[in-house]
Amino acid sequence: MAARPIVEARGIHKHFGSHHVLKGVDLALAERELAFVIGPSGSGKSTLLRCLNRLEEPSSGSVVVDGVDMLDPRTDLNHARQRIGMVFQSFNLYPHMTALGNVTLALRKVAGKTREEADAVGRTALDRVGLADRAGHTPGQLSGGQQQRVAIARAIALEPRVMLFDEPTSSLDPELVGSVLGVMRDLRESGMAMVVVSHEMGFARNAADRVLFMDQGLIVEEGTPSQIFEAPAQERTRSFIGQIQKH
């Protein structure tokens, strides 16, 4: 754990106009670590994730991923982004392509693989998420859970060093959540470093190394799952945990 962190974000501020959304967030993620982020709506969780791969431009601060300074203008951002997979709440699969097409697009266009090479890698990735037999299906022909697993395959096919999940199960019917969490658990067991924003407390309890509670643009408290869920030190954390456990 003492080795260089795979993600190191320091002092991240983000303003949207006059709206100060991130107010100096520090986040260091060790190799193989899973950090689980919780917090009320609007607290800046998505914005934080999106600053890590620069889908959102931080107003100030630094982000280093796998030794690459993400904010340095000399950094080849498109190359760097291949090391950071991202999974979205709304899947964002390309509806005009098959599952395999979704997974192989970046392999061909960015990683420069031939169609044959890309297809081979893509099929392996689909197999890892249990969808080898759905390679030729379009997103419209897949269930929500299957779509999200294809989205995960699309990200891991690029062999990222860290994966960001932004509420990956929030738009799924309850009976489909398990299949996606299963894939995430497998990924975690394979040693993938992950930052997960989610409300799946059960998953957090048995898969997270660390839980971070965000509120109003700051990480208010962090600790092991049992610390945060059973004995939060901060009043704000306590009331948030109390609220979500009622549901």
Partner: protein
């Protein structure tokens, strides 16, 4: 002679019709040529403008919007007359054919740019984000992810707009182009009989009715399955 006979005599006169059929056919070929040039160049320029606009370079976008609005606001005939009768004043004398082609090309460019643009902006932001998050460049995301989806959405409105503008080739008769209407009108003045107009109308129907039906067909089946 009954009224019915007079009607047939005027609009379906077999002698006049067979005499001017070759002219009408020639006119039809010219209309097809003109329409094809307008469609190909107009749609290509419209797409090029929409792609340029997507880069979000403000001064350029304001210019594009200005040009597009200009050609959407002007009646096509005004543009044709302007080019045909106006440009000679600066030493250019485009033929009636070229004047009509350029005019309707600009009009189709303007309308299709707006349609392409609406298609591009209607693609959810998440598509861009997913593509960019995997390292795709802006250009790759646009060409491989956004544009294919946008184009599919634009096909029905684009088809309808293209038909509407291409029908404007009839305006070329004003600047002495021997397309369908031009041929038919001169046949009418030479024969003192309106039957060639009937043939002209039939020629337009043969050209455009299939396109209209095709447009309707596309419209009913454009829904995208997500």
């Amino acid at each position: 002679m009954s009224a019915w006979d007079r009607f047939l005599e005027a609009f379906f006169n077999p002698v006049v019709m067979s005499r001017y059929l070759p002219d009408i056919l020639k006119g039809t070929l010219l209309t097809i040529e003109l329409a094809a040039l307008i469609i190909v160049s107009g749609l290509a320029l419209g797409l090029a403008l929409a792609l340029l606009r997507s880069f979000g370079f403000r001064p350029l976008n304001l210019l594009i919007i200005f040009v597009v609005d200009l050609f959407r606001a002007l009646p096509p005939l005004v543009i044709i007359v302007f080019i045909y009768f106006g440009l000679p004043a600066v030493g250019l004398s485009p033929s009636g054919f070229v004047s009509t082609w350029l005019s309707l090309m600009f009009v189709l460019m303007a309308f299709s740019e707006e349609i392409y643009w609406a298609g591009i902006t209607s693609i959810p932001k998440g598509q861009w984000e997913a593509a960019r998050s995997t390292g795709l460049t802006y250009g790759h995301a646009l060409m491989s992810v956004v544009l294919p989806q946008a184009l599919r959405l634009t096909i029905p409105p684009l088809t309808n707009r293209t038909i509407a503008i291409t029908k404007g080739t009839a305006l070329a008769s004003v600047v002495a182009v021997g397309e369908i209407l031009g041929m038919a009108s001169s046949a009418v003045s030479n024969s003192y009989n309106p039957s060639p107009l009937t043939m002209g109308a039939v020629a337009y129907l043969i050209l455009f009715l299939p396109m209209v039906v095709f447009g309707r067909y596309l419209e009913t089946r454009m829904a995208w399955k997500r």
